[in-house]
């Protein structure tokens, strides 16, 4: 098991992503950060903090539960649901930035796109991820990436965030040393 990002590196990556989001979208006024539970929500909150620090303006924030849109539901017992909360202004004509911790097969994001479909028509949908570990199974790409980490399919990437796990770090497990 090896640590590929420590707390300081995570913080730097998120700060950079925050800048990139602001740059691409010409500020934060039309942006909505939607975190995908569980850890995507924490990362979205941190990005919002960063943006507040940079622009001195609050960016719209929400969570998007994608459980009901997953394509693998029937492979195991039903998964528990998590909350969905959108800003009161809705998502129409906004730049929705989906936020997640690890980008892997792309199926989670596909489910998120389906979920968004029901909720409105954003102007654009963008994707911000802390870690991109490759092995895409669908033609989906990320707009903002914290760190690219090549992995073997058998390995697993664990993101720990202090709000949930007590500490900040990204680890890879199952890698032979």
């Amino acid at each position: 098991m090896s640590v590929v990002l420590n707390a300081a590196e995570i913080a730097r990556a998120l700060r950079r992503i925050a800048h990139e989001i602001l740059e691409k979208n010409h500020g934060s006024s039309e942006v909505i950060l939607l975190g995908i539970p569980t850890r995507g929500v924490v990362i979205a909150q941190r990005l919002a903090q960063e943006i507040l620090g940079i622009e001195n303006a609050e960016v719209a924030l929400g969570t998007l539960d994608i459980t009901m849109y997953r394509d693998d539901l029937r492979m195991r017992a039903p998964r528990p649901l998590t909350p969905t909360q959108l800003p009161k202004t809705g998502i129409d004509a906004k730049h929705v930035v989906l936020v997640d911790d690890v980008f892997f097969s792309g199926r989670t994001v596909r489910a998120a796109l389906d979920a968004l479909n029901e909720l409105g028509r954003p102007k654009t949908v963008q994707l911000a991820v802390l870690i991109d570990r490759g092995h895409r199974e669908l033609p989906i790409r990320a707009d903002f990436v914290g760190k690219n980490i090549p992995t073997a399919k058998t390995e697993s990437v664990k993101v720990n965030l202090s709000e949930i796990d007590g500490s900040d770090e990204v680890k890879i497990e199952g890698r032979s040393m």
Binding site: R74, M75, L81, P83, L119
Partner: protein, 321 residues
Amino acid sequence: MRDLLSINDLTKDDALEILDTAVHLSDLSDSSSRKFPTLRGRTVVNLFFEDSTRTRISFEAAAKRLSADVINFSAKGSSVSKGESLKDTALTLQAMGADAVIIRHGSSGAPAQLARKRWIDGAVINAGDGTHEHPTQALLDAFTIRRHLRKDLGDLAGLKIAVVGDVLHSRVARSNVLLLQKLGAAVVLVAPPTLLPVGVEHWGAQVSFAIDEVIAECDAVMMLRVQKERMEDLFFPSEREYARNFGLNAARIAAMKESAIVMHPGPMNRGLEITAEGADSKRSVIVEQVANGVSVRMAVLYLLIGGATSRDLAVQIGEQS
């Protein structure tokens, strides 16, 4: 959870899981026709042997909002229908490949028969059997109470709920007593002695013949429908006497706690068990109960057939071998 036949099939955690799932499904409830693809390809059958527009529509809406295919089967078999009616009907549905069968029947125990004898392979959901139980009604009632009095969180410990009316014949009462207690609430049953079952003393609920003595301490008052035909069977002498002593009228509403709510599973007999003041008062959550019913039934369908069912697993094992 394979079937939902009785509240006794659920542990406290199961019940809370259903309620919590319903909460999330009702997020963004102003986009009230929010649809999910989750049960696409699943077939849900409404097998109603008793007329019931509201429950059937509620289940139909729930199934459709999960993108399931819905088949409505209204079998006008009466209470003297022979075994072939239920059994053969069930076997026919089985042949059509129903993933879930929602059954309402005039005989207590009919859903249990379907499930136990496995005439139906899919999930069996009891939508009301005779005078036995109506589990999804109790779940939506608990959901409604929890929304108003516990902000959608946790259980119902510390709350006192009155269930008023024809307890003897009420499947709603039975399911509610079981579920409310399971979730930690105290229950008081209020009815004339003729409308309480022999053996009610084993239910763990307080029993009272006088609504005025208990109404002020209740956080929710659930009025049960009283059938006028009960007068012919000598359960009470007249509508007037019943309404006067057990009806929810303006005076009793005024005696209720500030935060207390009024509930009714519907359909109401305005003027008998509940007056217009009661039904239309700002304490009444009766209309909201109906909307909550759809969310709760969506949750039940999701938890029963949204994930892998035994049939799915059997197919997977078959594919692997």
